[in-house]
């Protein structure tokens, strides 16, 4: 034993009488609280809280999850649409305002006329009667050209004109004005789409794929590792050979080859799939195929040692079936390390997905993912650096958070490190 530990021990010994006196002065309820055994999850949670970075990272993840899940709400509140293009406002810098182009204005007026034909007619005739706008007579269109001409003017002028009219009830027409001027906190991309809202929808795809892949591959790993560990012998050898072979392959080249496959050449699969989600499902399946191995090895190792334990023997003697032994008696013992593996798996899945999407093989546009937002980053960096900085930063923050949480969980579920 080194000196230091000895010192601390003597230190503790000196402290002990003190502690004893405080113990004896506890009242009934405090004593009860102390003596009560804590449930497992509470011990783990208390331990987890000690890992500061992991604890904060959990909040970061929570924040991202809430943002991703409320993407539609954000669209509704801010009026930003991830797919709305604006050719007149490409590569806008962050914190800038964009004006809609003429064709967007025109189509907005067209929608307005279709939705409120009466109001449009009234407004058009009034504009004509007041002679505010000199328009060629187009009686068959009931003077609707006036509406188009008016909207092309600057906002203030339109508002002033509308204010001059006697009938003030043209709020619907005035409302479409508001949609023309959009504010972009993070600027716009190469076709004038808002970067912020694309990041929000991208969070949904990227984190969603990451979590789904980690969970599903953990399930596959649990199944394969469980079977291999429980039955042993030839089954174990065959399964572990496959696992080791897959584990030894370089991940990115394999993923590239698989994701370059064109599913339309496999008609059986094509019929089952909705084309708009095709690339997401393809990505998910491919990544699951190549990420279950770590969990399988982990589960196999635990099951191998659990197999020799007395409680399994007891269950067997009582006549439990194999399925019961595996599901009821063994799996609860491997859940803790699996939880760690899943959390760490989310991080690496997000990185792999983004790498493939970056290469143009993963999630296909227009569906935004953090990876495919970086798709043509090499050209874009000369126009607007934020287009490259932000999506990558999101990937980085999310992955680092998941890795920290995984590390924290590892410490927390490790019985050797638990302090009571």
């Amino acid at each position: 034993m080194d000196l230091q530990t000895q010192e601390s021990l003597t230190h503790n010994n000196q402290k002990d009488p003190n502690m004893a006196s405080t113990h004896s002065s506890l009242n009934e309820s405090e004593r009860k609280a102390l003596e009560q055994a804590l449930p497992m999850w509470k011990i783990v949670f208390n331990q987890f809280k000690e890992h500061k970075m992991a604890f904060y990272s959990a909040f970061v993840i929570l924040f991202f999850l809430i943002v991703a899940l409320s993407a539609e709400l954000i669209t509704k509140v801010t009026g930003l649409d991830p797919n709305r293009q604006n050719v007149g406002a490409r590569y806008l810098a962050p914190m800038s305002r964009a004006q809609a182009t003429d064709d967007i204005k025109e189509s907005a007026v067209e929608v307005y006329i279709n939705q409120h034909p009466d109001e449009a007619k009234k407004l058009a005739t009034e504009l004509k009667a007041q002679n505010i706008l000199i328009v060629d007579t187009d009686t068959e269109n009931e003077n609707q050209d006036a509406l188009y001409d008016l909207i092309m003017k600057p906002d203030e002028e339109v508002k002033a004109t509308l204010a001059k009219l006697q009938n003030v009830n043209y709020s619907n027409y005035e409302a479409i004005l508001k949609t023309f001027s959009t504010y972009h906190v993070f600027g716009t991309d190469e076709v004038g789409r808002d970067v912020l809202i694309r990041l929000v929808y991208g969070a949904r795809v990227s984190i969603g794929v990451g979590i789904m892949v980690a969970l599903s591959s953990a399930l596959i790993g649990l199944l394969i590792g469980g079977i291999a560990g429980f039955y042993g012998g030839k089954i174990d050898m065959a399964l572990m050979r496959v696992t080791d072979a897959l584990l030894s392959l370089p991940t990115i080249p394999i993923l590239i080859v698989f994701s370059a496959v064109d599913l339309s050449k496999l008609p059986a699969i094509k019929q089952m799939m909705n084309p708009s989600y095709e690339s997401i499902i393809k990505m998910f399946v491919i990544m699951c195929l190549f990420s279950w191995m770590t969990v399988a090895r982990l589960v196999r190792g635990s099951i191998l040692s659990l197999r020799e334990r007395e409680f399994v023997l007891a269950a067997k003697t009582l006549g439990a079936t194999d399925a019961t032994i595996i599901l009821r008696h063994m799996f609860p013992n491997v859940i803790a390390p699996m939880l760690v593996a899943i959390t760490l798996g989310v991080g690496s899945s997000i990185i792999y997905e983004s790498a493939l999407s970056f290469l143009g093989l993963g999630i296909m546009p227009p569906t935004p993912s953090w990876g495919n937002m970086l798709n043509n980053a090499q050209e874009v960096i000369y126009k607007n650096v934020w287009l490259t900085v932000l999506p990558g930063l999101m990937i980085f923050i999310t992955t680092v958070s998941f890795n920290f949480v995984g590390d924290g969980l590892q410490d927390a579920v490790d019985p050797k490190s638990i302090k009571r």
Binding site: A245, S248, I256, A260, D262, K265, I351, L374, Q378, Y382
Partner: protein, 323 residues
């Protein structure tokens, strides 16, 4: 030991065979085939021509027949012809392999040179401020997407500061009067790719080195060495580090797989002319012969390094026995 290596070698060959067949089959499922490309480039092509071309390229045969005839060609040393680059694949692979090897080796060296001192220091002083920062940065290194890091480096050093080239392998069209200026030119193009490839490896290495070193320093013989009154230098390096090195050898050899995987992304970002970029480019442009060969070479390299790792492990640690 001999039979173990032999068995592993046979296993590796089988895995390579299976992987190459799978890859060959997947290539037939990729969009477009060579004849389709010819149809697109020549609108006056007749249907007889198409049938004749398909027969010429054996495209009317099922995949496994084509695979075996392709494998027979490979065995006899004919790697085929690149449709994109218009040269035999052999000629294409040589310089590409050399470039990737230089990149991977430099990245491995850099990450070791940085990771070893930091990992060992933080293992000797756990809980110190340095340990805290090393831990923090290794987490960052593991989590950072290497291609994005590459893009950030381009933005900072090429676009903003303009001190380093944004991509490529060497300055095109320059005659180097001396070998020194040639090396200087190549080195300039290597700096950014090596950094972006190393950062993740540093993160991984530091964590392994730290835990392995801590494990080694916990041994009884370390206490004995200390009690004997050996100097701290001898205790740490001769007794601690040498034992910590055993598991690390495997990690370093296995890291080759990660470097090779990462090299595809790094080479694509920096337009560095290596095997990784060749794999990606040839798959994207339907250059089957090149894609197959470069893919199989990268997989074989990784598998052989894994094998080497296992063998080295046996040599480094006499306690391991192979049966």
């Amino acid at each position: 030991m001999g039979t173990y290596i032999l068995r592993r070698l046979i296993q590796t060959v089988i895995v390579i065979g299976l992987i190459s067949y799978m890859c060959f089959y997947l290539m037939t499922l990729m969009p477009g085939d060579p004849v389709e490309l010819m149809i697109q480039s020549n609108p006056r092509i007749t249907s007889e021509d198409i049938a004749r071309l398909r027969e010429l390229y054996n495209l009317d045969q099922p995949a496994y027949v084509r695979y075996f005839s392709w494998a027979k060609d490979i065995m006899s040393g004919d790697l085929g012809y690149s449709r994109t680059y218009r040269v035999p694949v052999q000629e294409l692979m040589g310089p590409r392999l050399k470039n990737t090897f230089v990149l991977s080796f430099m990245a491995l060296l850099t990450s070791l040179l940085i990771a070893l001192p930091f990992g060992i220091y933080s293992a000797l002083k756990p809980g110190s401020r340095v340990d805290y920062f090393v831990n923090f940065f290794s987490f960052g290194g593991i989590s950072i997407p290497s291609f994005w890091l590459g893009l950030m480096l381009i933005i900072i050093f090429s676009v903003q500061l303009g001190v380093l080239p944004a991509g490529g392998t060497e300055t095109i069209g320059v005659d180097h009067e001396s070998t020194w200026s040639f090396f200087k030119d190549r080195a300039l193009y290597l700096i950014l790719p090596v950094i972006s490839l190393s950062v993740q490896q540093i993160g991984v290495f530091v964590r392994y080195i730290r835990s392995s070193m801590m494990e080694a320093m916990r041994n009884d013989f370390i206490r004995t060495a200390k009690a004997k009154g050996l100097s701290r230098f001898v205790v740490v390096w001769k007794h601690g580090f040498r034992n910590a090195l055993i598991p690390l050898i495997t990690i370093f050899a296995l890291s080759f797989s990660g470097l090779f995987s990462g090299a595809i992304l790094t080479e694509t970002v920096f337009a560095y002319q290596g095997v990784g970029k060749l794999v990606y480019d040839s798959i994207m442009s339907n250059d089957y012969n090149v894609a197959m060969i470069s893919f199989i070479i990268s997989v074989s390299m990784v598998l052989l390094m894994n094998l080497l790792a296992d063998i080295l492990y046996g040599f480094a640690d006499p306690r391991i026995s192979y049966t």
